[in-house]
């Protein structure tokens, strides 16, 4: 297939960022499970190494998050365009996309959203990513930073409502992110072939829809 049938959807920095996050979040999930349920989960021999790994992975993901925030928010300045649903998205797009996932997909219809570098996400993705990137990720990262520095940041911990509340927020937010992870990975297999959406996140190039190809060749 020549490059005319492909679009360059994911630039290299985005791909590096994505896989760094993916690796970090999986590490955080696994180590987090052992930290909270040590009598059930014993993947690593030493509890201390699990804590150090969790803290390190947490810092890497938090730094990566900050990079994303400053890049899209201050450098590229297209954060709103990519992540915030438009009025049209909310009024029509969301419903159309939901209808596709829950009904027309099973009938064999094609995805109503065609990603372009300027409009990567469908309305449902936009809403989900907005909640994740503007609410869940900051909450889990900030609560994690507080939990790894309880003594020096004690006054802030108390101001928030105490260590127990902070632990609850960190744990439940992490559970929300894990829940999203299952949906995220599953939806990534929903292209023409199971790897159709996953490959571009590795290579950068997405093969355009066959239907569109006919139009292009026509």
């Amino acid at each position: 297939m020549n490059t005319e049938n492909k679009i360059y959807l994911q630039p290299t920095p985005v791909r590096i960022w994505h896989w760094l996050n993916a690796f970090g979040i999986v590490t955080l999930t696994v180590t987090g499970a052992q930290i909270r349920f040590p009598e059930y989960v014993q993947l690593f021999a030493s509890y201390k190494s699990v804590i150090l790994l969790h803290n390190t992975a947490g810092l890497v993901v938090a730094a990566s998050f900050s990079l994303w925030f400053f890049y899209y928010g201050l450098v590229a300045r297209n954060m709103r365009k990519i992540y915030v649903p438009t009025k049209d998205d909310l009024q029509v797009g969301l419903l159309r996309q939901a209808k596709f996932y829950l009904l027309t997909y099973f009938l064999g219809w094609s995805n109503p959203h065609h990603p372009t570098p300027e409009n990567k996400f469908n309305p449902m993705q936009k809403s989900a990513y907005m909640a994740i990137m503007f609410v869940l990720m900051p909450v889990v990262a900030l609560s994690g930073i507080l939990l790894t520095n309880v003594s020096p940041l004690r006054e802030i911990v108390i101001l928030i409502g105490g260590l127990k509340l902070l632990v609850a927020v960190h744990f439940l937010t992490a559970c929300c992110l894990i829940a999203f992870l299952f949906t995220h990975v599953y939806l990534a297999t929903l292209g023409k072939t199971p790897m159709a959406y996953i490959k571009p996140m590795w290579t950068g190039w997405e093969e355009v829809d066959q239907h569109d190809q006919h139009h292009h060749s026509a």
Partner: protein, 351 residues
């Protein structure tokens, strides 16, 4: 008449003899304290706080038991009264301590002033650590521990040193009332609340009633929650420490304490017992048992006490599981329908 008087004397003499030792001890302590309770009279080095001394076990045996050579002419006789050796009574502890690597560094009296010493459960965990801090500077100690221990500052704050550096047994969670320093609202830090401060906060009620509202000498989870949510108690917080019930003197670094799992990977079953320790007028602490498992409460039982891997809340576990299961609905539900309708998509592609 005389005969009657003699008979009476014979009757009271044995009773008087029985009471004599007690009277002598009382008189003895009283005689000593007549001068030694007054710092101006004897100087700071020989001053004994009578309130604190009276609550020690040593007060019960009497001054002369340890200072046997003191005479009725003391101090005019110019003799320095003898001092008993701690080992005379505490031989077993002495032998245990002599075998430890700490023996060369400090005598019994360096850590225990016999005129104020109390049992382990009657002093605060912070007071236990103050003894260690008099030789082991706090910053230096934190830095040494930070070389291997995550959040070393927090650990050193929440644990008596002896929990890891002796084989002291039966660790429980003891909650102490700490108070925000006067005049500060944020950033000033907290110190152990004094008896006077708690008396003022309790108003016309007793200090225990600040937490033990029904004063039944038992603190239920509901009472703990009420205390922590009551805005009137805002300057106070409950700070938990892991304290040993049985103290030993075999100072060393125990091998299993290098391993975080010793305290942290036990799961919730090991951290069921907790107490609230309240300061009394004489400076000793009175412990009131808290409801079993109180520190495992999700939010407001002990809002500032959490041990990772050991005091998680089951309620939160279930909520978390439901959230994660919710995330699996899409892959499982949608995936099943996707599999069942795969022919529709194949047909569409062929067209």
């Amino acid at each position: 008449m005389r005969t009657y008087y003699e008979k009476f004397l014979w009757l009271i003499l044995p009773l008087a003899m029985l009471g004599l030792p007690l009277a002598a001890v009382a008189a003895d302590n009283g005689d000593c304290m007549g001068c030694h309770a007054d710092a101006d009279m004897v100087g700071a080095a020989f001053h004994i706080d009578p309130v604190r001394f009276d609550t020690t076990a040593h007060a019960e045996i009497g001054c002369q038991e340890c200072h046997a050579s003191v005479t009725a002419n003391h101090p005019d006789d110019g003799d320095t009264p003898s001092k008993a050796s701690c080992q005379d009574c505490h031989a077993e502890i002495g032998a245990e301590y002599a075998a430890s690597n700490h023996f060369e560094m400090a005598t019994c009296n360096d850590c225990h002033n016999p005129h104020v010493v109390r049992g382990a459960t009657a002093v605060s965990g912070q007071a236990m650590n103050d003894k260690c801090a008099s030789c082991h500077g706090s910053l230096e100690t934190v830095l040494q521990h930070a070389e291997w221990l995550p959040q070393a500052d927090l650990h050193l704050e929440m644990l008596p040193c002896i929990s890891c550096h002796t084989a002291s047994l039966d660790n429980v969670i003891t909650l102490y009332l700490v108070k925000r320093k006067d005049g500060t609202r944020f950033g000033g830090g907290f110190t152990l609340a004094t008896h006077a401060e708690l008396t003022e906060l309790a108003g016309d009620k007793s200090i225990p009633s600040l937490i033990d509202r029904n004063e039944d000498n038992y603190i239920s989870l509901a009472e703990l929650r009420m205390f922590n949510l009551d805005t009137d108690n805002q300057p106070l917080r409950l700070q938990g420490m892991i304290t040993p019930e049985t103290v030993t003197h075999d100072f060393r670094t125990l091998d299993n304490r290098w391993d975080c799992t010793f305290c942290h990977a036990t799961g919730p079953s090991a951290r069921q017992t907790s107490f609230v320790a309240l300061i009394q007028e004489d400076g000793s602490y009175q412990r009131i048992a808290a409801e079993k498992g109180a520190v495992l409460d999700a939010l407001y039982g002990t809002p500032d006490f959490y041990m990772v891997g050991a005091t998680r809340s089951k309620v939160l576990d279930y909520i978390g599981m439901v959230i994660i299961a919710g995330g699996m609905v899409m892959p499982i539900g949608h995936g099943t329908l996707r599999f069942l309708t795969r022919k529709n998509r194949q047909r569409n592609e062929e067209e």
